[in-house]
């Protein structure tokens, strides 16, 4: 294994795929200067300005141009800088990218990766902290990826770049610098729809993904130290998602807790619960709970922001409540 950070793992994945396939290229603001977090550091030098394209501030066209370029056979990585700015490009994403293949009866191959660093990040306030990944599980035509660590970032990015589907790739921006490790040598693709079984236990199934995963693991470890062993499934991709793994875990634990950073109301946690209730029947489950943010915009002041964040302590408390 090679020690690295999440941001660097992603960079190495892009680097590998750009070396492998000359049709892969990157467009977005400031990518020629390495990207806002160094995700593309050094790439302009290696690939030149036709494959590492620094763009104007023009999100609609960054997104739409990526689609157009895919329609002629290239494989763009559309860098959106922060998820919040994707709101400036929703027509291109929702009405065009997600639908062209279907509307045109299969003629179009919208093989784009849309990278959208999301979530809370150092008191960035309401317009730079959103997590709306749940929206896109509800949107036909797209794959939704939300990794939580360096290894998954790299392996899922490789899969995303090689996929013919449009892949919405939610980089967890609060974890850019989280230390991690990736395998030596070539980065292998990680399949979509396979959860990572991050902790093993029979007391409770915790389903989670993206930036909150480290907190869930910290909580799980604390619970273990108190003698409560929980199963933790990091979904990694929320469309498709690993229903089999969750159902299998639930068959043992009978107790479900879904933890996400996003607002609880209408979040993907509701989908996980409704699907499992449907699949297993209410009588097969003793408890099914969610832990997410309150339905408020993300505030700026550190203590208020902390109120919205899902801390390990909150997760421990929710897990214990689910065991009661």
């Amino acid at each position: 294994m090679v020690e690295t950070t999440l941001v660097e793992a992603g960079r190495l994945a892009v680097l590998q795929e750009m070396r492998r396939d000359p049709r892969v290229w990157v467009l977005g603001e400031d990518v020629g200067r390495g990207g806002l977090w160094g995700q593309y550091r050094g790439m302009l030098e290696e690939f030149g300005p036709e494959r590492i394209v620094s763009t104007p501030i023009a999100e609609s066209t960054i997104m739409g141009a990526g689609l157009g370029a895919a329609l002629v056979g290239t494989r763009p990585i559309i860098e959106m800088r922060m998820f919040d700015f994707v709101m400036c490009a929703m027509d291109e994403l929702v009405n065009q990218i997600a639908k062209v293949r279907y509307m045109f009866g299969g003629q179009a191959k919208p093989a784009v990766v849309v990278r959208m660093p999301h979530g809370m990040w150092r008191n960035s306030a309401a317009q730079h902290s959103q997590m709306l990944e749940a929206w896109f599980a509800h949107l036909p035509g797209v794959v939704v990826v939300a990794p939580s660590n360096a290894e998954d970032e790299a392996g899922l990015l490789v899969s995303a770049i090689r996929s013919d589907d449009p892949v919405l790739f939610f980089d967890p921006k609060d974890l850019w610098l989280a230390p991690g490790a990736i395998a030596d040598g070539e980065i292998a693709p990680i399949p979509f729809g396979k959860a990572r079984h991050a902790r093993q236990g029979d007391a409770l199934t915790i389903v989670t993904w993206s930036a909150i995963v480290p907190n869930v693991l910290a909580a799980a470890d604390q619970l273990t130290s108190e003698g409560i062993k929980v199963d933790v499934l990091d979904l990694r991709t929320i469309w498709p998602w690993d229903q089999d793994a969750v159902a299998a875990s639930l068959a043992r634990t009978k107790r479900l807790l879904v933890v996400h950073e996003a607002v609880e109301v209408g979040g993907f946690g509701a989908e996980v619960i409704a699907s499992m209730i449907d699949r297993l029947g209410p009588s097969a489950i003793k408890v099914a709970k969610r832990l997410g943010a309150p339905r408020i915009p993300v505030p700026f002041a550190p203590p208020l922001e902390n109120e919205v964040r899902i801390s390990p302590a909150k997760i421990v408390a929710a897990a214990k409540a689910a065991m009661a």
């Binding site: 002629v72 056979g73 290239t74 009866g105």
Partner: protein, 334 residues
């Protein structure tokens, strides 16, 4: 920019080319007349946007294109598709929502695409094609192709943000794009001049950095000549260009819209400037036999009637196809 006047002589003495241009216009007109009849007969579902009076623009522009050139279109795209080389019968199948249609019945009139001839799709969102067009051009450039992209849109689209963004984009990366604004003076039920400030689409394009020319879009020869010149410049790597083609749409916004707010006199006046009649007069003046032009019309009628009848008789798509073409990973099944 100055208005480029197209004189018949300047367009060259190639009668075959002019006749082809004429044929394409007649085919577009006849295609849409037939579609409108079918629509009124209740055979075609969904919204239908026809373009009577605007046929010179796609016909003239596409005359200079190669099959591997690409084109993005808008909601009013039948003429664009035909001129780019799409097959009328397959288009009818799509209008009818039948098996074998261009989109397997999943798109309808507003989403016709034929990637095999470079037609990258109509679009239900005004200005939706502009970012796609510039991206397609960027992709082609990356692939070292010398194909170009034509981007068709209406005057209404020039008030939406993507007009600024996409033109700027094409200019900064020196992309091979021909922007074509079909200015019929109206956007849905609103006269565009009442919601458009400044000197209009060409002035905006020039200021953004895309050289633009305003022409009479009802003069097929002017369109053809201008497009030929600009396509050559674009293919030579000189960057994007724009044609602002003035025209008039005889009909309402959709097949069900009578455009009752419009003074009928305005429509009658516009019909006297019919691009097909104008080119017909030129051809006859140049000695083409009226009978051979009639042949073109009746061939078009046959083609379209056959297409219509075929579509009307064709089977619906199988139910399974509703679940196909969504995505590979995470696809659901019916």
């Amino acid at each position: 920019m100055a208005t480029a006047g197209g004189t018949p002589a300047a367009a060259g003495d190639n009668l075959k080319r002019l006749t082809d241009l004429y044929r394409m216009m007649v085919r577009i007109r006849t295609f849409e007349e037939t579609a409108l009849e079918a629509y009124k007969a209740g055979e075609i579902p969904g919204p239908l946007h026809v373009s009577f009076g605007q046929e010179a623009i796609p016909s003239g522009v596409c005359a200079s294109l190669r099959t591997d050139d690409r084109l993005t279109s808008n909601h009013r795209g039948h003429g664009h598709a035909l001129a780019k080389g799409a097959d009328a019968a397959t288009m009818y199948l799509e209008l009818y929502g039948r098996e074998g249609g261009y989109c397997r019945g999943k798109g309808g009139s507003m989403h016709i695409a034929d990637f095999s001839v470079g037609m990258l799709g109509a679009n239900g969102v005004v200005a939706g094609g502009l970012p796609i067009a510039v991206g397609a051009a960027q992709g082609l450039k990356l692939l070292k192709s010398d194909a170009i992209v034509v981007c068709m849109f209406g005057d209404g689209a020039t008030n939406r943000g993507p007009y600024l963004e996409a033109l700027n984009w094409a200019a900064i990366y020196t992309l091979p794009v021909l922007f074509v604004c079909e200015d019929n003076g109206v956007a849905a039920h609103t006269e565009t001049r009442t919601v458009t400030a400044g000197e209009g689409p060409a002035a905006r394009a020039n200021a953004i950095g895309v050289p633009a020319v305003t022409i009479d879009g009802n003069d097929a020869l002017a369109v053809e000549e201008t497009a030929a010149r600009l396509v050559a410049e674009i293919r030579a790597g000189r960057g994007p260009r724009m044609i602002h083609a003035k025209t008039y749409r005889w009909c309402g916004h959709t097949a069900t819209d009578a455009a009752a707010w419009r003074d009928p006199k305005q429509v009658e006046a516009a019909k006297t400037r019919c691009p097909i009649a104008r080119l017909k007069a030129v051809l006859i003046e140049r000695g083409v036999a009226a009978a051979s032009l009639d042949d073109i019309s009746s061939a078009a009628r046959d083609e379209m009637q056959t297409g219509r009848a075929g579509a009307h008789a064709a089977p619906w798509p199988g139910m399974a196809s509703a679940f196909e073409d969504v995505q590979d990973a995470g696809a659901v099944h019916g």
